[in-house]
């Protein structure tokens, strides 16, 4: 999937961590723009963004990647 993340104090403060076989963790982001163009506000200090494309709660990871293996 494609997702754009917006930073709270500028994009340089956003930390992106790619989890092997799992989601992308974002720290310091204020919102994520999903594939549908909708803006999803970040509600917690770290969020997991879906990378497998199968989440029922996109753009957020809901653990579904574990059922795909």
């Amino acid at each position: 999937m494609t997702a754009a993340a917006g930073g709270r104090r500028g994009d340089s403060d956003v930390e992106v961590t790619l989890c092997p076989g799992g989601p992308m963790l974002l720290r310091g982001a204020s919102h994520v723009v999903g594939e549908d163009g909708a803006r999803h506000e970040v509600q917690r200090s770290v969020v997991a963004v879906c990378r497998c494309g199968s989440s029922a709660r996109a753009p957020w990871c809901d653990g579904t990647h574990k059922l795909l293996a």
Binding site: C19, G21, P23, L25, Q43, S45, C61, D62, G63, K66
Partner: protein, 340 residues
């Protein structure tokens, strides 16, 4: 909360002592444990639960001065030793299969939590459970969920700064990210109330069997001993890594049986939160802890498997009763409610 009812000679002796004012000269407390499985021993588990509780919210009828009384710590140690031995014995083969195996520890722990054998309470709740079974599930869970996150918080000061920062980051989310109404314990209390249950702390301790108390006691055992800090973090990892998908099923079952959204919300929240937390706990915390201190690997895996095996026993207990159209703990009778 008041002290629970005693369930045998050990709890009777301990509870009699702590219902009196703290007496520093009272001397040792001699108790004799029954033989048999400590995990299923009601007397042992309720005594342990109450002794641990002195360190959490405690009891309105117990003098706070008892918390560090040496004779109570001695009894606690006498109860903890067989409990810990039984847990280690129960998971020995699974621990041996994971410790020292090739591959990244986080990947091995994900594989363990994905493949651990046990009946699925979540699938039953999602598809088949009655309203009363959903209520019963919620009331058992209340014993731990109303102190959710607290046992793992004891570990924070025992860690090096980098792992500590990761654990605090995770716990901050458990405690609502600074918003009191979003504290997971508070979300659970709300779910209980909306499901027609008693949300006061410890309300169902007198009703639940030893295995339900053991789920809570294992986390306190790991959390309250520095030497078991790695087991506490492994336990945390297993909780988080077995949460997202089951919580989606629990939420679906809760709605299917006609409960309101606030009952399901606790589980909705955990679908998303724990998809984050499982990565933080297994990759950021457990794997990093062991990278820094390789000698802790066995205890990380022990904590994770102990969590999984107790959950499996708990699930089997409930499902066996429900298969026979019985309850382990009958939920309170409800006035007929028409789902909205």
């Amino acid at each position: 909360m008041k002290l629970p009812r005693a369930r045998g000679p050990v709890s009777t002796a301990v509870f009699e002592r702590i219902l009196q004012a703290r007496d520093v000269l009272a001397g040792p407390l001699r108790v004799e444990l029954a033989s048999g499985d400590p995990i299923e021993d009601d007397d042992l588990q309720v005594t342990l639960w109450a002794l641990y509780e002195l360190h959490y919210r405690s009891f309105e009828d117990v003098d706070e001065g008892w918390e560090w009384a040496p004779e109570l710590l001695a009894v606690r140690e006498q109860l903890e030793a067989p409990f810990e031995r039984a847990l280690r014995e129960e998971v020995r083969p699974q621990v041996a299969a994971v410790v020292g195996a090739p591959g990244d520890l986080a990947d091995r722990l994900f594989a363990l939590t994905d493949s651990f054998e046990g009946p699925s309470l979540a699938e039953h709740i999602q598809r088949h459970a009655t309203r009363e079974q959903v209520q019963e599930f919620l009331l058992h869970r209340s014993v731990y969920q109303l102190k959710e996150a607290d046992p793992h918080t004891w570990v924070i000061p025992r860690l090096e700064p980098d792992i500590k920062a990761r654990l605090v980051e995770l716990q901050f989310d458990e405690y609502g990210g600074g918003r009191p109404a979003r504290v997971h314990q508070a979300l659970y209390a709300r779910a209980l109330i909306e499901a027609g249950l008693d949300a006061s702390y410890g309300a169902y301790v007198d009703d639940v069997p030893a295995i339900t108390l053991a789920l809570s006691n294992a986390t306190s055992l790991f959390g309250l001993h520095r030497r078991l800090r790695a087991a506490a973090l492994g336990h945390l990892g297993a909780v988080e890594a077995t949460s997202s998908i089951p919580c989606r099923r629990f939420a679906a079952g809760i709605r299917r049986t006609g409960f309101s959204d606030p009952v399901a919300f606790f589980f909705d929240e955990h679908v998303e939160a724990d998809a984050v937390h499982e990565q933080l706990a297994l990759r950021g915390i457990c794997a990093e802890l062991v990278k820094a201190t390789p000698g802790l690997e066995a205890d990380v895996v022990f904590g994770a498997t102990a969590c999984l095996t107790l959950e499996a026993r708990f699930a089997a207990r409930l499902l066996e009763a429900w298969d026979n159209e019985e309850h382990v703990v009958p939920p309170p009778r409800q006035e007929a409610q028409v789902p909205a």
